[in-house]
């Protein structure tokens, strides 16, 4: 499994042209972000509609760190991820008392607030002080291992795999079991000795951390960021697509990333009018939500098991 993924990561980037290199880099980055959404949704039964905003937080911190210190990208990325994890935890604090739609909406308020703040402050581009904006944007350089688009695509893929593994590790150990109990019922979890508040906060922190990584990678790819990338509506869309792709399996998250970034790019590339693309995209979203309740990945996997069964039956 891991081997074939490694082979894919090695080969595919060298086959793509410049446009699709860029498109796939973005797709993988948002696959990573969706991984965070999925931790909350699939493992804890909670919904965060602030994930794209947290990606923004991670990107902001990464840029700020680089302009301030000039440290290697990976260090800044870690800082971005940690801060974004903390912010994620703060946004998730109300989750200790709420769940369901309410909680989702509270996180949406967080995302909307971020949108306004960051429109006003913009992302660091080399200006003085904490909030300073430079006359001419200074671009943060790519990470050493990702200087060309081709290398960058490999770089984000490797980070994505690491993020999957991080989540998988959490899922298979203590936090994973605690989350499973909480999802079933908080009362039951408490009666089982689970510190519900802690493990919920842990889930939000992990989701935020992963979003931060995605943000850092986005900043690393583009060198500068812009507030228009992180409106609240994008956070809603990312969650919707996580459901459409399938939150319970990594394949679903890969699909989420592709739907979020590659699908619009393909429509744009083949010259579909941007407004009509919205219509197609919206209709596709509705269609997928209706016809694939377990997500597209769920359907694919279901189909495969059925097929395997039928083969075995014969």
């Amino acid at each position: 499994m891991l081997l074939s993924v490694a082979a894919l990561i090695l080969i595919v980037p060298s086959l793509l042209d410049a446009l699709y290199l860029r498109v796939f880099i973005s797709s993988v980055i948002f696959t990573i972000a969706a991984t965070g959404t999925a931790v909350l949704y699939a493992r804890l039964g909670l919904v965060s509609l602030a994930q794209v905003a947290l990606v923004g937080v991670g990107g902001w911190v990464t840029l700020r760190m680089w302009h301030a210190t000039g440290l290697p990208f990976e260090v800044n990325m870690l800082a971005g991820a940690i801060i974004s994890g903390v912010v994620g935890m703060l946004i998730g604090l109300p989750a200790l008392r709420m769940r369901g739609l309410f909680l989702a909406l509270i996180t949406l308020m967080g995302a909307a607030g971020f949108q306004i703040l960051v429109t006003g402050t913009q992302f660091p581009n080399g200006g003085d002080g904490v909030l300073g904006i430079a006359v001419t944007s200074i671009f943060m350089p790519r990470p050493l291992l990702g200087e060309s688009d081709e290398a960058m695509l490999r770089y984000v893929c490797v980070v994505a795999v690491l993020c999957f593994l991080l989540v998988e590790f959490n899922r298979r150990t203590r936090p994973g079991r605690a989350w499973a109990l909480i999802r079933k019922s908080e009362a039951c979890a408490m009666a089982s000795g689970v510190n519900v508040a802690f493990y919920k906060a842990w889930g939000f922190a992990l989701a935020g951390f992963i979003a931060g990584i995605a943000g850092a990678l986005l900043a690393g790819t583009l060198g500068v960021l812009d507030a228009t990338t992180f409106p609240a509506s994008e956070s809603i869309l990312l969650f919707a697509l996580t459901v459409v792709g399938g939150a319970y399996h990594w394949l679903g998250l890969v699909l989420t990333g592709l739907l979020f970034r590659a699908a619009p790019a393909v429509l744009n590339d083949i010259g579909v009018n941007g407004h009509l693309a919205y219509v197609i995209f919206g209709a596709g979203l509705l269609h997928a939500l209706i016809t694939a309740p377990t997500g597209i990945a769920g359907q694919i996997l279901d189909g495969l098991t059925q097929l395997a069964k039928r083969r075995a039956g014969r």
């Binding site: 203590r174 079991r177 109990l181 079933k184 039951c188 408490m190 009666a191 000795g193 689970v194």
Partner: protein
């Protein structure tokens, strides 16, 4: 030894428990009473989901109410719920392991030993690796029971564990409950509407009615009590 002193609970204007005072000492104690008598509420007070207006519960010389819910679990309080809570996408062993995660059982081998012992005790040793979703109602009940038995429990609270089981299964459950004290050293409080089961397992029984203590004593005597018959069993006219 559990001392319940003056425990009162009200939800808004509804009094669910009124000045409940009783000392429980037997290995298996039954709690019965009409619907809405306050049985589940009493269990919720034990596990900390409901904070009583006043009163105290002292168990094995520990003030139970002073602890937060998950701390009580670490201390040794266990409970099952009126609707079962087995997690579908965890294996049977993981369902039990989740309980041990937050208990101060340090060594890995000790944990595995305890899981095995509990699963063997409820006759699920062969299903340790199956997912929760593959179990039937009875097996799910048994997983819940196994969960309450790991990590040296002191008190096990069971809320209608027999509901929805068929007769032979109830028999098996009965045997399981009876052995808890001997095998795991915990004291069991059992709520059930199945009087036969109460009679067969509980040494003494608490009867609640409208949040008040209606009667308390050895089970056989209690079930003969006229007030209990009238309020709970509904056999006053028949005899």
């Amino acid at each position: 030894m559990i001392e319940i002193r003056d425990v009162s609970v009200s939800f808004g204007g509804v009094r669910a428990l009124t000045n409940l005072t009783v000392n429980l000492a037997d290995p298996v104690v039954g709690i019965i009473g009409p619907n809405g008598a306050g049985k589940t509420t009493l269990l919720n007070v034990f596990s900390g989901f409901v904070t009583p207006g006043w009163g105290s519960i002292c168990a094995f010389d520990t003030d139970l109410l002073a602890m937060r819910p998950h701390q009580r679990a670490r201390w040794g309080l266990r409970r099952s719920f009126q609707t079962e809570q087995v997690v579908d996408d965890l294996s049977v062993a993981d369902n039990v392991r989740a309980m041990l995660d937050s208990l101060p059982v340090t060594s890995r081998s000790e944990r595995e030993r305890q899981i095995e012992k509990a699963l063997t005790y409820v006759h699920l040793e062969g299903k340790a690796d199956e997912l929760g979703s593959a179990l039937n109602t009875y097996e799910r009940r048994m997983v819940e029971l196994a969960k309450t038995l790991v990590g040296s429990p002191k008190i096990v609270l069971l809320d209608e564990p027999g509901a929805g089981l068929r007769d032979e299964e109830v028999d098996a459950l009965r045997q399981t409950i009876l052995g808890i004290n001997e095998q795991f050293g915990a004291m069991t409080l059992l709520i059930d509407h199945d009087v036969e089961m109460i009679a067969a397992t509980c040494i003494s029984t608490v009867v609640l009615d409208f949040g008040e203590l209606l009667a308390f004593g050895p089970t056989a005597e209690i079930l003969k009590d006229d007030r209990v018959k009238a309020a709970y069993l509904g056999i006053e006219e028949a005899e």
